[in-house]
């Protein structure tokens, strides 16, 4: 096993394209996971069973099946009913919805942790349900849950290689095709690993910082 620097530099631009796609998928998936997760958390709390029950069912269903299977569904089976998604879109939707069911749980815990008195005070000053969520509940519930949310986003980032299975040319898929073409695996795979480390390690350090920063938020 020998490391070929010339080869490593030669494949760097191609891998770079993959990195861009990986980052796109992570960022778009994160936004989706955060927004849909909040929607799910709120939907599960409303009194109307026709909203709360489907939301609960969706969460159980998505959590109970592997992400890879969900990606296959989105990309290979949805076209049968006329829904055609590009590989990257299917990948982002898959990652986003999958992680939304986890962020929903973070939101739920954060919302449940707010004292009941906050809801009662909002009612006593006659705020509408919407104003209560928007001005009282969400602004207080979010800061303490930021570390837990960020943790899931780092986890999602590390799951992006699964998108290779639905032909997304993200980093892993680029590396794999280079490796298959040249029959050289050491350089591309090592570089993929190094890239993930270069992002993950600072993320973990940043997460620790977030935990310190937001655990000291006082009343």
């Amino acid at each position: 096993m020998e490391w070929d620097w010339a080869f490593a530099f030669e494949i760097l631009p191609t891998l770079g394209k993959g990195i861009v796609v990986t980052i796109q998928a992570t960022l778009a998936g994160s936004v989706l996971a955060m927004v849909v997760g909040l929607g799910l958390a709120i939907a599960r709390r409303v009194k109307n069973r026709w909203i709360a029950m489907p939301a609960s069912f969706f969460v159980s269903f998505v959590r109970g099946t592997p992400l890879l299977v969900q990606l296959y569904f989105l990309f290979y089976i949805l076209p049968d009913i006329g829904i055609l998604l590009s590989p990257l879109t299917a990948g982002i939707v898959g990652l986003g919805l999958h992680y939304a069911t986890y962020t929903a749980e973070v939101y739920r815990a954060g919302i449940d942790n707010l004292p009941r008195g906050q809801w009662e005070a909002a009612k006593a000053v006659n705020l509408s349900t919407r104003a209560t969520w928007q001005h009282i509940i969400i602004p207080q519930a979010i800061p303490p849950m930021i570390p837990a949310l960020a943790n899931y986003l780092v986890a999602m980032f590390k799951e992006t290689p699964l998108l290779a299975a639905i032909t997304v040319l993200e980093l892993m898929n680029q590396a794999r095709s280079i490796a298959n073409y040249h029959y050289k695996y050491v350089e591309p795979m090592t570089m993929v690993g190094v890239f993930f480390l270069l992002v993950s390690i600072p993320s973990v350090i940043f997460l620790r910082y977030l935990e310190r920063r937001f655990s000291t938020v006082s009343q």
Binding site: Q118, E120, K123, N126, S218
Partner: protein, 262 residues
């Protein structure tokens, strides 16, 4: 002419599982009356305030605010459970101050006061600000307007909460053991605000309290509750000096023995 009572309880019952908190409770409160509710804990007095603020529903009976159903509405002579819109309409007449303040910790003192008038559309931002500063002045907190609740003492928090409840200009104010969570030296500043409110406005005030001497000075009428029923009701002088019922006598004796101020 006899005015419609501002609050009427008509055979109101409420239970939690097997526990009957309120049993066929009927009473009236007249406009501008200061009514103190006293009694042992678990006697249902806090529940009365919570049902009035629509934080809890009732099981049976009716409540009327200025003749209008609180928890029910009449549609073509048909009685219906109050809709959300009706409840919001009724809530606008009532303000409440809680034992544990329940201030919004992420908002400044002034924002705590102005938030509801602005969000409910009762005032625009600048009107609310003027009104808010006026109310903070009334409760003696003008200099704290831009601080967060965490920077306040318990007494200051509770005065902020009173200002917040007043911002919507309710006709009825509910005070639920508002001094129970305070250090003893901070109690008086909150009671003073309530006295001022009693003197300067003709607001109807219901208070659940363990401050017997305050209830005696302040209230027009005192009701003694036990097990979800009114045992005795009368002027403070009658009830405190000459209680008719054995249970009232025992309660007052216990309160005195416990060293609470009567």
């Amino acid at each position: 002419m006899v005015r419609t009572p501002i609050i009427r309880f008509d055979k109101v019952s409420k239970s939690y599982g097997d526990l009957d908190v309120l049993q066929q409770l009927s009473f009236d409160v007249s406009h501008g009356e200061k009514l103190a509710l006293i009694g042992p804990s678990g006697s249902g007095k806090t529940t009365i305030l919570r049902i009035l603020m629509t934080l809890e529903s009732l099981d049976s009976g009716s409540i009327f605010i200025e003749g209008e159903g609180l928890w029910h509405e009449e549609n073509n002579g048909q009685r219906q459970v109050a809709s959300d819109a009706h409840l919001r309409h009724m809530r606008s007449k009532i303000g409440m101050v809680f034992q544990l303040f329940n201030l919004f910790p992420h908002k400044t003192v002034l924002e705590n006061v102005t938030l509801a008038p602005v969000l409910t559309g009762a005032m625009n931002a600048s009107e609310a600000r003027v009104k808010g500063l006026e109310l903070l002045d009334m409760v003696g907190l003008s200099d704290k307007a831009e601080q967060k609740p965490a920077q306040l003492s318990g007494g200051q928090k509770q005065r902020t909460a009173i200002a917040r409840a007043l911002a919507l200009q309710p006709r009825i104010m509910l005070f639920d053991e508002v001094t129970s969570a305070l250090d003893p030296e901070l109690v008086e500043e909150v009671l003073n605000v309530m006295r001022k409110l009693g003197e300067e406005t003709d607001m109807t005030m219901l208070l659940v309290t363990h401050e017997m001497s305050f209830a005696r000075d302040f209230a027009d009428r005192v009701m003694f509750f036990d097990s979800g029923k009114i045992v005795e009701s009368g002027t403070p002088d009658t009830l405190f000096s000459n209680p008719q019922h054995e249970r009232t006598q025992m309660f007052l004796k216990k309160v005195i023995a416990a060293g609470l101020r009567v």
